[in-house]
C-alpha cells in the first residue's frame, strides 16, 4: 500500500468513528491533548446531501430523500488541512471532526489523536453496536418441526 492510500484509509477509518460520536464526547477527548494552533479554513456550514438507494437493493441508483449534513475545514499552523462532514446540523461537531482529520495527518499528533481520541471512541461505538446486535439476536426465531404421530 502506498503511503498516500494508507493515510487515506486511516483518515476514513477515523471519520467513520467520529461521525458516530457526540460533539461533546469528541471535545472531551481532545482536551487530553495539547492542541497545536489551528484555524477555520472554512467556517462550518449546514446543507443537504441527497441519499441514494439502489433498485432492488443492488441495481441502478435512485434518489431516496435528503439528509441534513454539516461540514467544516480546519488548518493546523503546520499546514495540514482537515475536513469534517457529518449527518445532522451540529456545526461544532463538523469542526471537531475537521480538527481531528487534520491531526490524523500530522506527523507530531497523528499517533496521539488515534490513541487518545479515536481508539476510545471506536471502542465505545463497538460496545453500543454489540449491545444492539445482542438485543436483536435474542429475537431470532428458532424454527422446529413438530413430529407427527408415533413415527
Amino acid at each position: 500500500m502506498t503511503q498516500h492510500s494508507n493515510q487515506q484509509a486511516q483518515r476514513k477509518a477515523a471519520m467513520a468513528v467520529l461521525a458516530h460520536a457526540e460533539a461533546g464526547e469528541i471535545a472531551a477527548r481532545l482536551r487530553n491533548l495539547s492542541l497545536p494552533d489551528h484555524q477555520d479554513l472554512r467556517a462550518p456550514e449546514n446543507g443537504l446531501v441527497m441519499l441514494r438507494g439502489r433498485v432492488g437493493g443492488d441495481g441502478a441508483p435512485f434518489n431516496l430523500g435528503e439528509a441534513t449534513v454539516s461540514r467544516a475545514a480546519v488548518r493546523l499552523a503546520s499546514g495540514e488541512v482537515g475536513f469534517g462532514y457529518t449527518l445532522g446540523r451540529n456545526s461544532e461537531k463538523a469542526r471537531l471532526i475537521a480538527l481531528c482529520d487534520a491531526l490524523v495527518q500530522s506527523r507530531d499528533f497523528g499517533g496521539a489523536v488515534e490513541r487518545d481520541v479515536i481508539a476510545p471512541l471506536r471502542e465505545q461505538l463497538m460496545i453500543r453496536r454489540k449491545q444492539a446486535a445482542e438485543a436483536a439476536a435474542a429475537t431470532k426465531v428458532d424454527f422446529y418441526t413438530m413430529v407427527r404421530g408415533e413415527g
Partner: protein
C-alpha cells in the same frame, strides 16, 4: 379582473396567537420536549422524515410539535425547511446488504442465511390497550443473546443465484439519476423517478393502492421475500476531500416483494420483483411501496394495465400529500372574486331560463304545442 381584498390582518395575527396558545394546551401540564417526541413517538418521526423527504430526527420532532401532531402539516413544514439549505451533492448509494440488521423476516423462506430476527415489532401483539402504559411504566431490559457475525445477504440475492428471480436493473452507462425535486415530472417516468416519488409518497395513499392490487385491481401475486430494518452507513464523495467520506449511519426499512412469474419464448420463467425503501422503521410504507412499484411495472412486463395502481400518471400525480393537501385545502381560502363571477353567471343563466320558460308557457305557445 383582480380585486385586492384588504383587512383581516389583525384577525390573522390573533388567530396565530390563539393557535400558539392552543398548541401549548393546559399550561399546568408539562411541555413536551423534542427528545420525548423523538424517543417515544419514534415511528411518527420516521414517517415525517420519509414523506418530508429529509432525514433529520430533531427537525421532524420539531415539525410534529409545531403541527400539534398533524403529521401531514409536519411533513409540509419539513419540505419547506429543506428548500432553505444548499445541497452539497448526492451520497454513494447505500448498501442495504451490509445493514446492521435489527429486524429481518422472510415470508417465503424459513431458513435464510443469517436467520430471521423479529426485532422490535407490533406483529404477534394482541392489540389490546395496555393500561399499565398510562403512567410510570418501566420496561424490562431487553433480553440478550450472543450475536452471530454471519452475513445477512438479501433473500432476493440468494434466489437470484439460481436464476429463479429476475435480477435488478443495472444502471445504464453515464445515465444520470432522475430527481423530481429538480426537474418537473414527465410521463412515462423511469423506475428511478417512480421509486423516488413513492418513497416520499403518502403512506395512506400507497397503502390503499397496494391493497387495491391485492383485491384484484391489478393483481400480481405478492410474497414478502424479505423485510429488513436497521442501520446503514452513508458515504459521500466530497470533492474537496478527494475520497468517499463517511457521514454516519441512517436507519432504513427495505421490503423485497417477490411476485408471480414472467417468461418468454427466449427467457425461462422467473419471479418478478417490487421494491420498497424508506427512512426509519416504516414497514407498512415499504410493503405498500413495493406492491405499487411492482404494479407500475405492468407495461414493462407486458401486462394489461387497466387498474389504477398500474397507471403511473395517476399514482405519481396523486401520491404526494403536500401537493394534495395544498390543492384540497386552498379551497377554504378566500375565493370571493371567483365566486362572484360564478354567481353572476348563474344569475344570468337563471334569467335566461325564466324567460325561456315563460315564453314556452304563453297561451299561444301552449296551443301550438297541443296541435
Amino acid at each position: 379582473m383582480y380585486v385586492a381584498v384588504k383587512g383581516g390582518e389583525r384577525a390573522i395575527e390573533n388567530a396565530h396567537r390563539l393557535l400558539a396558545h392552543k398548541r401549548r394546551g393546559d399550561q399546568s401540564v408539562a411541555e413536551i420536549g423534542l427528545d420525548q417526541i423523538s424517543e417515544q413517538l419514534g415511528l411518527a418521526v420516521d414517517r415525517v422524515m420519509s414523506e418530508g423527504s429529509l432525514y433529520d430526527r430533531e427537525l421532524a420532532a420539531l415539525a410534529i410539535k409545531q403541527a400539534r401532531g398533524d403529521l401531514i402539516e409536519a411533513i409540509f413544514l419539513v419540505r419547506a425547511f429543506r428548500a432553505t439549505l444548499p445541497r452539497f451533492g448526492a451520497s454513494e448509494p447505500v448498501d442495504t446488504g451490509a445493514m446492521r440488521v435489527q429486524r429481518r423476516v422472510s415470508a417465503t423462506f424459513k431458513d435464510i442465511p443469517g436467520g430471521q430476527t423479529l426485532g422490535p415489532t407490533f406483529d404477534y401483539t394482541h392489540r389490546l390497550l395496555d393500561p399499565s402504559l398510562a403512567e410510570g411504566f418501566v420496561p424490562e431490559a431487553p433480553a440478550m443473546a450472543e450475536a452471530s457475525i454471519a452475513p445477512t445477504p438479501r433473500v432476493t440475492d440468494i434466489l437470484g443465484r439460481d436464476g429463479l428471480i429476475e435480477s435488478s436493473p443495472e444502471a445504464e452507462d453515464g445515465a444520470s439519476v432522475g430527481d423530481l425535486t429538480r426537474e418537473p415530472l414527465n410521463f412515462p417516468a423511469d423506475r428511478d423517478l417512480r421509486l423516488q416519488n413513492l418513497a416520499r409518497g403518502d403512506e395512506g395513499f400507497l397503502l390503499a393502492m397496494g391493497y387495491s392490487t391485492q383485491r384484484g385491481y391489478g393483481r400480481n401475486h405478492p410474497f414478502v421475500g424479505e423485510i429488513r430494518f436497521g442501520e446503514v452507513e452513508v458515504d459521500f464523495v466530497a470533492e474537496d476531500v478527494g475520497f468517499a467520506v463517511p457521514l454516519g449511519a441512517i436507519e432504513l426499512t427495505e421490503c423485497q416483494m417477490v411476485n408471480q412469474f414472467k417468461g418468454s419464448a427466449t427467457e425461462a420463467p422467473c419471479f418478478t420483483r417490487g421494491y420498497g425503501l424508506a427512512f426509519g422503521q416504516s414497514e407498512r410504507k415499504t410493503m405498500s411501496m413495493a406492491l405499487v412499484d411492482r404494479a407500475l411495472r405492468a407495461r414493462e412486463l407486458g401486462e394489461e394495465a387497466l387498474a389504477p395502481a398500474q397507471d403511473e400518471e395517476f399514482v405519481m400525480s396523486h401520491s404526494d400529500n403536500v401537493q394534495a393537501t395544498g390543492f384540497v385545502e386552498h379551497l377554504k381560502l378566500p375565493h370571493y372574486v371567483d365566486f362572484q363571477s360564478e354567481l353572476g353567471l348563474l344569475r344570468k343563466l337563471r334569467q335566461e331560463f325564466s324567460k325561456a320558460f315563460a315564453d314556452a308557457n304563453t297561451p299561444e305557445a301552449m296551443k301550438e304545442a297541443a296541435e
